[in-house]
């Protein structure tokens, strides 16, 4: 088996993770403070990268199923977190059922249906399904919250999966797999970069009413680092020229930040610290994919508009 650029990119990610783990190990040995959470976080990264790598190497279908499962877990977390009505049990069931259907369109490469199934058909169907219970108390709140959860957890995330089935082009032998890797890697790297810059140099709060730990230093440092990395990585795995690589290198960290604070606002409103406890050190699955809910659809349409 020859190694394609995509394999080298994966090897690079593993190398970076190994390096980060060594740094975390050294810090945790030297520091007086309790570093359990940081160590747990790093361990969880190994698990997540391993799952992603295996799915990636086995087949597109497995990767699509993995994304469908991520949507399922995120949606379940969302529904467990928000106020729901007993009368809407059936409606929740329909929302769950839309996950396999939406990911089937991805598997089937049926772009037209993929793009409208949730924002048109589910959007029209859910209020109808809800009114069948004839309980109008809380109807608006219910329909609004369910729709938002569906858009965030299923529609948005499914765009990452759709990237995967984009064909290879003359300028990009890595095809959809390369684009997906670019998106996921930069989104997650940006989260870590913004966090690290903020921890080290953070002073001026950026949006204290929503997320008191976020600072301008963290935000700008993260954007800068991710931007440079995007320029370096884009020629390897994407069809982008320098202008578009630069644009994507700004789009991902900025959109990622917005996604992050959006979920923070949701958590604040509900009075919870984490969305769940599924990933040790990170919190819930929504805490991990909050940025991706914004970067995935935006990056997808950016790429599709300019290159497909």
């Amino acid at each position: 088996m020859t190694l394609d650029t995509i394999h080298w990119a994966l090897i690079g990610i593993w190398g970076l993770l190994a390096l980060a783990s060594v740094i975390v190990y050294v810090i945790s040995k030297r520091s007086e403070k309790n570093m359990t959470e940081l160590v747990q976080r790093t361990q969880s990264w190994w698990v997540m990268v391993a799952i992603f790598t295996v799915a990636f190497l086995v087949s597109n279908t497995i990767s699509i199923i993995v994304f469908a499962l991520i949507s399922f877990l995120a949606l379940k977390e969302f529904f467990s977190m928000i106020p729901t009505r007993r009368a809407d049990r059936r409606v929740l069931f329909w929302v769950y059922l839309s996950i396999p259907i939406q990911y089937f369109w991805v598997y089937d490469s049926y772009y037209g249906m993929f793009a409208v199934f949730i924002p048109v058909y589910m959007f029209l169907f859910l209020p109808f399904a809800s009114l069948l219970s004839q309980q109008t108390d809380g109807f608006l709140r219910s329909v609004g919250t369910l729709n938002w959860g569906l858009m965030l957890c299923v529609f948005s995330i499914s765009h990452a999966a759709f990237l995967l089935i984009m064909p290879a082009t003359s300028g990009n032998s890595a095809g959809g797999a390369g684009l997906l890797l670019f998106l996921i890697f930069l989104t997650q790297f940006n989260d870590v970069a913004q966090y690290t810059w903020g921890k080290m140099f953070g002073k001026r709060k950026i949006i204290p009413g929503v997320s008191p730990n976020k600072t301008w230093e963290g935000f700008l440092g993260g954007v800068g680092t991710t931007f440079v990395l995007a320029l370096l990585v884009a020629p390897l795995v994407t069809p982008f020229d320098m202008i578009h690589a630069a644009a994507a290198g700004l789009l991902i960290p900025v959109a990622g930040f917005v996604g992050d604070v959006t979920v923070s606002a949701l958590k604040r409103d509900l009075g919870v610290k984490d969305t769940g406890s599924l990933i040790p050190g990170h919190g819930g699955i929504m805490d991990r994919i909050d940025s991706l809910t914004f970067t995935a659809p935006l990056f997808f349409h950016f790429t599709r508009y300019f290159y497909y």
């Binding site: 399922f72 877990l73 379940k76 977390e77 529904f79 467990s80 977190m81 928000i82 106020p83 729901t84 009505r85 007993r86 049990r89 059936r90 929740l92 069931f93 769950y96 809380g138 509900l270 009075g271 919870v272 769940g276 406890s277 599924l278």
Partner: protein, 209 residues
């Protein structure tokens, strides 16, 4: 064997469809004699508590359930006894000469772990009702058996009484410190109630009406 296979699939389904957030799992006894008491919202309660136990210990763990429901037909009775491993209890029995808890006493003397729901019925989902005193009789007879309170939330949302449609929700399972018999029935029941109200206040649960 049948029981192990059944609960293996239950375990997989519980972890995938529901997903559990368990606090202080180490307090859950897997060796008897011991009594696990939980609040009751759904048929899933028994399944989830059994799913938390290691498969190899299942033989020694006995859920206690109403005879009039689980043993109402021969087929149900066979399934309840051999697969679920249930000990039947008569609710509001007419015959005063038989102690309805006889089966429980026997299981405890054999060193089993009893799982029981002192609310008596699933009732309205996610609302706790008064605790029945049966558990205090068990504890009085077997003061060496720890009584471990388990508070669950979310199972009544996933599968409430009267519904057959399972809707996935993450569920919280909070296990409390065990209490032991101190010689007084009222005091014992109050201690248990108190333990439950503390466990249920550990987290702000999303409203569900």
């Amino acid at each position: 064997m049948l029981q192990k296979t059944f609960y293996f699939f239950v375990k997989v389904a519980v972890l995938f469809l529901l997903g559990l957030n368990v606090r202080r799992k180490e307090l859950l006894p897997s060796e008897g004699p011991a009594i696990v008491v939980a609040n009751h919202n759904s048929h899933l309660d028994t399944m989830v508590l059994m799913a938390l136990m290691p498969l190899s210990k299942l033989k020694g763990i006995k859920p206690v359930a109403a005879a009039d429901y689980f043993f109402s037909s021969p087929l149900k009775a066979w399934f309840s006894e051999n697969v679920l491993g249930i000990i039947p209890v008569e609710r509001g029995g007419e015959d005063k000469t038989i102690d309805p808890l006889e089966g429980c006493y026997q299981a405890l003397s054999e060193g089993k772990v009893l799982v029981l729901f002192p609310e008596g019925s699933r009732g309205e989902p996610e609302q706790m009702t008064d605790l029945k005193k049966g558990v205090s009789f068990l504890s009085e007879r077997f003061p060496e058996a720890p009584v471990v309170p388990v508070f669950t939330h979310g199972l009544g949302k996933a599968l409430p009484k009267g519904s057959f449609l399972l809707v996935p929700f993450f569920c919280d399972i909070f296990i409390g410190e065990p209490i032991t018999w101190d010689g007084d029935r009222t005091q014992f029941m109050n201690a248990l109630k108190d333990r439950f109200s503390k466990l249920s206040a550990e987290k702000n649960f999303a409203p569900w009406e």
